[in-house]
Symmetry: C2
Subunit: 355 residues, 2 copies
């Protein structure tokens, strides 16, 4: 008997449950093939649950999640809940409470997928963004003085600690070494304006870099990074950046790799419990229609397998996803795939079985 | 005799002087044709000057600049000066001291220019970003505690005032009304995470919007904005945003409109002295070679003419730029134009004369 993993599943809102189902289908199949197993426990968190119960993320649930081998999340966000409530109370709360200090975002254009960029193909778009995921502007620090008056001042603070920045940068270098491709880590920042935050980042970056003489270092301002992502994405291998800039460039990355339908992400605590999620939102207008693309969720499941150390199973999932994209789907966009959500999940699962 | 305008000229570093020369050539020609004139006074500010004299921006120069009708800037930035010194000491200092609270960035794809985006043409890429230019993360507020130790903390603060935000938003709505196109203003922010800063922004936005019932309002998170700029740029008309997000999305905008060779910008103080600059950098490796594209500087000169109220002259410049792009240039990139920098300036000037 192989290992058994306890995975917490948070289907969440909108199309979250539909894509999570397909992720689980694929995880089961991969486990079966490779001789391990999963115990899934579902948690009914999200906008619906909040509207019914007023509960967002109870303390005892967090405590339970701490004991899991991983978390698989669908999507959080409900049209009737004020923006910020669920994002901060649930998604960011989980990232922070579980100290998932890395947001890992592969930006990879698979064959058969159309990018909005001219003259760019799979060989050009293949890099990874390592986003700091536990501090910066996401600390929630700041305040408002004289709210609602003409003298109002709102302050929002980016807090960066040496420890937080350094562990993120070190992760990026380690990841780059393991990835073993262009062997280049690009720091994306704004040293010429954010002279406190990126002074720390820059010093930490070049100090950590000394431990990795085999890896080339590179720096780009965040504004320039966006330009190059569109004009010369082939320049990048691993990009490391802060929480806010990471949020921005990973969405841009999702777009150039073909859109939200296929963009996967991991919130990693390499020493603790990690959480995996497709990076698209809850897409309420598509919910329940079986037209949303589950491949982003399935690729997130692949990242979960990688984090668990089940590299072979992960590789199988990636191969199957590639095959579906190359041979089966008409388009990656919702409603244009030529298959239902469940059918796409089954295609992936079947390719895993048949290899 | 027509009006005479006193314009301060700061050629700056690298390719700055070359492109400024062409901007002035075009300004002279437009003035001649339309019966007004310019007095240009050159200021030798920038990296070279700083290295020779240690001087960045003397107080008496600022006082003189305050009395001008406008400022025309080439580029600031020198490879031998530490990043941040000139940007903060000169460029940002000018923006702040002269309270140029609007950064105006038209994102317009002209015919004959190639965009990196597939399936997008001039009809799709035509919007304007109004970037707040006097506060936010650019305030320079923050600090570092325990610098250089493992316990180091670096804080960078975004400061947003009701007055600063409101005047920027109002400018955006006024601009949108005058522009008279899709009549839509999109607020680009991050309300779900930057809950202090964008709480103020959002309230100010919807309150000001009430004064403009003829204009549609729209909101997009900054990460989504980047996605739509690449995928559906035709959705935008006027985007208003804070200083940092504006910096990022305007560079992305420059790229989709064809690159730094043609992207123009204005730093506006509608009640004071405004400053116009091509948004590309000083490109030291191209300096003195007469291969850089001066059209970004020339289009900045067009924005200067608009700000001076010389609408007809401005329209002539735009028409001439369009003609050169459509009929003459092989490519907009440095070294690939098929003409020297000066020749491109002369082409534009000649089209203005012949109409
Ligand atoms: C939903 C939102 C809070 C979140 C973020 O800003 O981190 C999302 O955009 C992401 O990138 O995961
Ligand atoms: C040079 C730099 C300080 C500047 C900025 O960040 O504003 C530039 O990127 C711009 O957009 O004008």
């Amino acid at each position: 008997m192989g290992k058994s993993y306890n995975i917490a599943v948070i289907p969440g809102d909108g199309t979250g449950p539909e894509v999570v189902d397909e992720g689980l289908k694929v995880l089961e199949r991969a486990a079966q093939k490779h001789g391990f197993s999963f115990q899934f426990k579902h948690y009914p968190l999200g906008g619906e649950h909040y509207m019914k119960t007023g509960e967002i993320l109870p303390e005892n649930v967090i405590d339970e999640l701490r004991t899991r081998d991983g978390i698989f999340l669908g999507a959080i966000g409900h049209p009737d809940v004020k923006p910020g409530v669920l994002e901060k109370g649930l998604l960011l709360q989980l990232r922070f409470e579980l100290d998932q200090y890395i947001n890992l975002r592969p930006v990879k254009l698979y064959e058969g997928v159309s990018t909005p960029l001219k003259d760019k193909g799979p060989a050009d778009i293949d890099f990874v963004v390592i986003r700091e995921n536990s501090e910066g502007l996401y600390a929630g620090a700041g305040g408002i003085l004289k709210r609602g008056t003409p003298d109002e001042v709102a302050v929002q603070e980016s807090i960066n600690t040496r420890k937080g920045v350094e562990r993120c940068i070190r992760f990026a270098f380690e990841y780059c070494r393991k990835r073993n491709q262009k062997k280049k880590v690009t720091l994306c920042g704004k040293t010429n304006v954010l002279t406190y935050a990126f002074d720390l980042w820059e010093r930490a970056f070049y100090e950590v870099a000394k431990e990795y003489p085999d890896i080339e270092t590179d720096y780009a301002h965040v504004d320039a990074t966006c330009m190059w992502m569109v004009k010369n994405p082939e320049w990048f291998d691993v990009i490391v950046t802060d929480n806010m800039f990471g949020d921005i460039i990973t969405d841009l990355g999702a777009m150039i790799q073909g859109g939200m339908g296929i963009a996967a992400g991991g919130n990693l605590n390499p020493e603790g419990v990690s959480m995996f999620e497709p990076i698209g939102g809850s897409a309420p207008r598509y919910a329940g229609k079986q037209i949303i693309n589950p491949l982003a969720a399935i690729s997130s499941a692949q990242l979960l397998l990688e984090a668990l150390g089940e590299e072979k199973a992960a590789a199988d999932v990636e191969e199957a996803v590639k095959k579906v994209l190359k041979d089966d789907l008409k388009d990656v966009a919702a409603g244009k795939m030529g298959y239902t959500t469940a059918e796409v999940g089954s295609l992936v699962a079947d390719y895993i079985k048949t290899g």
